[in-house]
Symmetry: C2
């Protein structure tokens, strides 16, 4: 009897090895198809300390060409990443089309740990789960294949594994205080993991694998990955359906109804400008110390005066505490990733100001009109952008969006002046003239954008810029008011 049992066990092990070998070869073959199809894959491996996440990943990548994958582990993340929204580190790590990113624990471990350590409140914990759901859905809707695995071991098994590691001199250092703490808090972790998986399993489901049976877990992970990719290759790149979530919106004027006549006298302009710049400079100091991040978004007609407006806002700021991000059409490596990636990676650190000269709204304007993305893509984008900005304001950021507005006659006058002034000629291109021809189309999409994305937390402001000086003063005033409010809010929270 026992002999038979032993034989059976040996055979099972051999079968497992053979299965793994076969799946490895399959994955090897998929590599190229994945690349041809341009499908990006994210494999998230979560689980208990000492459950074998690292060695599982080691097996999964063992046959893959290094050009096709990337492994990201939280241990190597610098502390300064703490000064960004918590998803920043994962946003940054997503693969480009045709490649695979393996995460050796990720957003789940991050959120659960912070919660159990009481570093974030219950409210913040819930918000982060919602953000995770939004992030995963946005990736999926953007054509990413996501696989989420949880590697489970029992408390006793974890005890034995940690003990084995701790007792051997060459592995002792691998057992961290964090691991021991987790073991002590095994029960609370179990509940938190359970809750997290329950609340984040609707869009992309979780797969719980038994970490105590190492080879089986490897085989099953391979199987899940190979299936996921097969399915993806068969169905083709997924394009998410647009859907609308209710966001509290600010009512917006139609562009055609905007009175563009306001102007300002030169004398008053100079006086006001100086006064407002001094005030902005003071506020920059305060938000720097209070660590409030600020994001200023500029969009507007060509020659509306965005550049000059930005310069007047930037002038009083300490150059150590702000960045201006001019956004042109995406570079090849940017185009190969989720459309929000190049903005995720340009967020300011807490206490810093990021000024975007054109923004993520390109998606629902130029990309929509020029057909650079599908109809579903730009329709979905309103909601995705509202979610993105809510994530920013939930994080504590001040987000202000300016539409620098002029009428077609003023644009024509400025274009002509640019063409006739040698130092300004570089500012005017053929494309500007082409865009001008599409003024009416743009007006439609801009109006729709303003209606759908002027949320209470991240509102749009239409800035009348037929008189550029008036526009600068008005923008400065809006920024100052918003920063003053943010400082007050910050103070109130401290008092709570």
């Amino acid at each position: 009897m026992l002999k038979d049992f032993e034989r059976k066990k040996r055979e099972d092990k051999e079968t497992l090895s053979a299965e793994i070998k076969e799946l490895e070869l399959k994955l090897l073959g998929q590599q190229q198809l994945l690349r041809d199809a341009g499908l990006p894959v994210v494999v998230l491996i979560e689980g208990w300390a000492a459950a074998g996440k690292g060695s599982l990943i080691k097996e999964l990548i063992s046959e893959i060409d290094p050009r096709f994958y990337n492994v990201v582990s939280p241990v190597v993340l610098p502390e300064s990443e703490e000064r960004y929204p918590f998803l920043y580190q994962y946003d940054k790590a997503i693969p480009e089309n045709g490649k695979i990113t393996f995460l050796d624990s990720g957003w789940m471990e991050n959120v659960v740990r912070k919660f159990l350590r009481h570093e974030i409140t219950k409210d913040e914990y819930r918000r982060r789960m919602r953000q995770v759901n939004e992030f995963e859905r946005q990736l999926r809707d953007g054509g990413y294949l996501l696989l989420k695995i949880f590697l489970h071991i029992s408390k006793d098994e974890q005890f034995e594994r940690l003990r084995t590691l701790a007792e051997a001199p060459e592995t002792e250092w691998r057992v961290t205080r964090e691991d021991l703490w987790q073991h002590k808090e095994y029960k609370r972790f179990t509940e938190a993991y359970d809750e997290f998986m329950e609340k984040t399993g609707d869009t992309i489901s979780w797969h719980i694998l038994d970490g105590s049976r190492r080879k089986t877990a490897v085989r099953d992970s391979f199987k899940l990955l190979v299936q996921k990719i097969d399915q993806g290759l068969q169905d083709g790149r997924y394009v998410g359906e647009p859907f609308e979530e209710e966001f509290p919106l600010k009512e917006m004027q139609k562009l055609a109804d905007v009175d563009l006549s306001p102007s300002i006298e030169d004398e008053e302009y100079k006086k006001e400008l100086k006064k407002l710049q001094i005030r902005l400079s003071e506020l920059h100091n305060i938000i720097y110390r209070k660590k409030i991040p600020v994001i200023l978004c500029y969009e507007g007609w060509d020659a509306a005066g965005k550049g000059g407006n930005i310069r007047r806002v930037a002038y009083p700021l300490d150059p150590r505490g702000f960045d201006v991000h001019p956004i042109a059409s995406p570079l090849p490596n940017e185009r190969n990733k989720h459309y929000l990636w190049r903005f995720w990676t340009r967020l300011p650190r807490t206490g810093h100001i990021a000024i975007f000269d054109r923004t993520w709204y390109g998606r629902v304007m130029v990309e929509r009109l020029e057909g650079f993305c599908s109809e579903k893509d730009w329709k979905r984008a309103y909601n995705e952008i509202n979610e993105f900005e809510r994530m920013l304001t939930d994080w504590g950021a001040v987000v202000l969006k300016f539409w620098i507005h002029i009428d077609p006659d003023v644009q024509l006058a400025r274009f002509t002046e640019r063409e006739n002034t040698p130092e300004k000629q570089w500012k005017i291109t053929e494309e500007d003239w082409r865009n001008r021809e599409k003024w009416d189309d743009y007006e439609i999409v801009v109006n729709e954008m303003l209606q759908k994305t002027s949320t209470k937390n991240a509102p749009w402001y239409i800035i009348e810029s037929n008189d550029k000086k008036y526009a600068r003063i008005r923008t400065l005033k809006i920024i100052i008011k918003a920063l003053e409010k943010a400082c007050e809010r910050h103070f109130r929270q401290m008092m709570d």
Copy 2:
């Protein structure tokens, strides 16, 4: 008399303002020319605490279009940057062609402070000055315009400024402990600054400006910058002359003389591979704890077996502690920067391993043969690369370079096999066949590369790879030996 004096003073001030205005306009006009000429500019502003570096930069950028410049301040650098070579943070920050980077203090302040705080030895201090000289020369030779300004104030002046800042509640926080320490150590700082400028002024000269006369300093900085750019525009992009520094070299065989017959039996291969991988895994743990960075460079003929070799080396490594960098032709944003930039930014952190699948040696092989750079460029590169690698090994890195070698017949056989095996077809392209035709040309340039860049500190190894298995075993053995030596050296240094 006094009235006259006052009048004169007022007039001087007005003249200064007018001069600044004029220079500002000139700089504004240069922007576009700079962009057209594709000239990158680095402006380094060093100087005493409270000398006004920040506000000087604020003036310099006030009229420049934000698309054209970037300000970098050390205060915002995350602590984790400490785990890279000290120039890493500045390497990363260089502008692309046509743009300006302003550094609000940089490598000088960094090195001097570390030295005065006794965080680095006198030897390391000297090495860093040499590295700064090499870095500046490499930038200049690569067509960068460099301007170095030191903003000077006397001890009394610094005292007054710090006091003014410290006494006003809204600026009190700006005075850091570091600043107070500098003030206390004013004399030692003076000597150190002096020495640093003396030792780093030959290639790119220093300009000392009087920080106590704010407006004059602004005017003079503008003037220097405008002149620098004017000169650059007039002369056209500078291409540095090649020159040879003596590096201790390891003697290298000519490729034609290499005996490619060595091979290994399958049985022995499996046994050896397992044994070596276990050992490498152990060593990875050790270097991780000792924080020794490792850089493995792979070059070789197409189809020589680089990929499989890399996989066998990577397999036993903890995925959390290594990265594989496949190097293809540079992306547009990479091509717009110094050719070493994409390698500077891919260096491993201490304790990590970076494996480069193709490397910076593209400069003296494909770029040379295809004419992607000028003759001066690739001739200069041997020396620049030796300097770069010396910087790495001085930092404590293990740098190993493998030329994976086969003969043309074996390559033909492998190409043919790839073409006839569906899963491998993606690995063979038209370009591979074209490169094959140039075998003899490549052999010449590879031989020259091996002769000129196999330094004692970062040697080349020609790996016989007609038998891929033999090649893998040999590579693993070389890596293991080098890591063992590095661990021993590390231990010896600890004993010193």
